[in-house]
């Protein structure tokens, strides 16, 4: 198999004397959906935020271990964390739109990268909105406040905003848990489409979603108070194997 685009080796996150994540080693391959499932509080979101160094903005958390992006450590001395975050985009659980117009929201990130002429921004915005299947719904109100959109539309707007920077990887932190079934379906269809061009790391609570969308799956559960990867591999292997009591308990409860 080809070299993984993202790889973690014995990644550990501690907050003071408490360990949140212990010894996580994962390999995430290009143009696949990598699913992360597990019970609440097991550290799925924490792990996700390690992958684009967003976690280091939270003080008092210490990350040790290695994360490699294209084979190179993202904690290396020459790595610009801000540039890294524009290549590894993130979508949060709740849509976080800026109190600006739809258009300004879409170009918010890409504008600051400084690689695109101002005159090209409308084109970039249209393309990103099309990619996020939102263009037809908002093309007539690009300059209205984004906060007037429905929550489902807001989440797709956030996705468009991330896509506008043309990231290679998109981290998704339970992107559908705040949405109604219809919007959830829209996002799920998008994930299937986007995987042709992007690598996606999807944190989800939804076992059906994981089974349906993920090419590879890892299950994170709490062991001795810290999140650990209990098993990883093909979704059916992870979800069917009864090798670990935690997974069984999680599946039974979920």
């Amino acid at each position: 198999m080809a070299e993984p685009i993202l790889q973690t080796q014995s990644l550990t996150v501690t907050a003071g004397s408490r360990t949140l994540l212990r010894g996580v080693s994962l390999s995430i391959h290009e143009k696949q959906v990598f699913g992360l499932i597990g019970p609440s509080g097991a550290g799925k979101s924490t792990l996700l935020k390690c992958l684009n160094r967003l976690l280091e903005l939270t003080p008092a958390l210490k990350v040790s271990g290695v994360v490699r992006f294209h084979g190179e450590s993202i904690h290396g001395p020459t790595v610009d964390a801000d540039a890294l975050r524009s290549r590894i985009g993130i979508l949060f659980q709740q849509p976080i739109v800026f109190p600006k117009s739809v258009f300004q929201n879409v170009v918010f990130g890409v504008k600051h990268l400084g690689v695109i002429q101002k005159s090209a921004l409308p084109e970039v915005a249209e393309q990103a909105l099309r990619e996020a299947s939102l263009w037809d719904e908002v093309k007539d109100r690009l300059h209205q406040p984004a906060l007037r959109l429905s929550v489902g539309q807001q989440q797709r707007l956030c996705l468009a905003r991330t896509l506008a920077s043309q990231p290679e990887v998109i981290l998704m932190d339970e992107p559908t848990s705040a949405l109604d079934p219809k919007s959830t379906e829209a996002i799920e269809q998008l994930i299937v489409r986007l995987k042709k061009t992007h690598t996606i790391v999807l944190v989800t609570h939804n076992v059906r979603q994981a089974r349906q969308l993920a090419d590879q799956l890892a299950c994170i559960c709490l062991r001795d108070g810290a999140g650990e990867v209990i098993s990883q591999g093909e979704p059916c292997d992870v979800l069917c194997s009864n090798c670990a009591p935690e997974i069984e308990a999680y599946l039974a409860g979920g």
Binding site: L57, P99, C158
Partner: protein, 290 residues
């Protein structure tokens, strides 16, 4: 029961304020009858000739407080950006408490420090422009800037902290660096609160008496040759408050016209400060609504 209590106490408060305003207005009536509207626009104040014009004091008040604002706003908002955006939470509280303590120092202490240090320092600083003394509008503005700095800083800090952390997080997640997040997320979203902080600082500067009184030189009838000239800054002058704080207030009592003129100064000050404070409070309250 609660409703009655609320109505009662609100009523008492409103009535007290109204009664005070009415009293001041009635007391100042003679001067409005004598001078008409030129009491507010006339620049000459010679009480022995029964000539009362408040304009040079209004001018002094505006120059001193706006000067203070120009000096204190960048520093205050800059400090607030530092405490709200970059300082770890535990230090932030420490710094904020210390700065708020400064707001509680009695203004006469600031005034004495002004006489002790600021006056000579500014006299030497302005030496190339040949000022008559260190008691200038500029001295008063610098002193006021120091006094309103805590107000501006602590209210700006509150305004910046009221911008949700998720907004900053989302922007960082898009690859913006810390500075860009401050410039394009925090400051724009807090702008109304910041503006309110500055206005409330302005209100405070305008009402301040004793510190200004001690360093401004209290020279009557200082009307500038041009409204945009900077020359008055290095000369002595008078503000509405420094005039009211002087012994002329005691002399005036007993002569209805003169007394009316003094109270009239108070009415003008009250109107200006009330308008500014209301506007500031209005902006601050509606900050979260938008």
């Amino acid at each position: 029961m609660t409703r009655i209590a609320i109505w009662f106490f609100s009523g008492v408060t409103v009535l007290t304020v109204l009664a005070m305003a009415l009293l001041l207005l009635m007391q100042s009536l003679p001067v409005w009858q004598h001078e008409g509207f030129s009491f507010a626009t006339g620049a000459k104040w010679f009480y022995r000739q029964q000539e009362f014009g408040a304009a040079s004091m209004i001018y002094g008040t505006l120059v001193v407080s706006i000067g203070a604002l120009v000096l204190a706003t960048p520093v205050g908002i800059g400090a607030a950006i530092f405490t709200a955006e970059f300082l770890p939470a535990r230090f932030r509280l420490m710094v904020k408490l210390t700065i708020e303590l400064l707001a509680g120092v009695p203004s006469v202490v600031y005034g004495l420090l002004g006489i002790l240090m600021l006056r000579n320092w500014i006299y030497e600083l302005l030496a190339p422009f040949d000022p008559l003394s260190g008691d200038t509008l500029f001295t008063a503005a610098v002193l006021l800037a120091l006094m309103i700095l805590p107000t501006i800083m602590t209210l700006s800090d509150d305004a910046l902290r009221s911008v949700p952390a998720t907004q900053r997080h989302a922007a960082r997640g898009l690859g913006l660096n810390g500075t860009e997040v401050v410039l394009h997320v925090s400051l724009p979203q807090a702008s109304r609160g910041l503006f309110a902080a500055v206005l409330l600082g302005l209100g405070r500067a305008m009402g301040e008496t004793i510190a200004v009184f001690l360093v401004i030189g209290r020279q009557d009838n200082q009307w500038p040759q041009s409204l945009f000239s900077l020359q008055p800054l290095i000369e002595s002058g008078q503000t509405l408050t420094s005039k009211l704080g002087s012994s002329e207030t005691n002399i005036a009592y007993g002569n209805p016209l003169h007394w009316g003129a003094m109270v009239g100064l108070g009415v003008i000050l009250l109107v200006i400060v009330t308008l500014i404070t209301w506007f500031g409070a209005y902006l601050q309250r509606s900050d979260h609504a938008s």
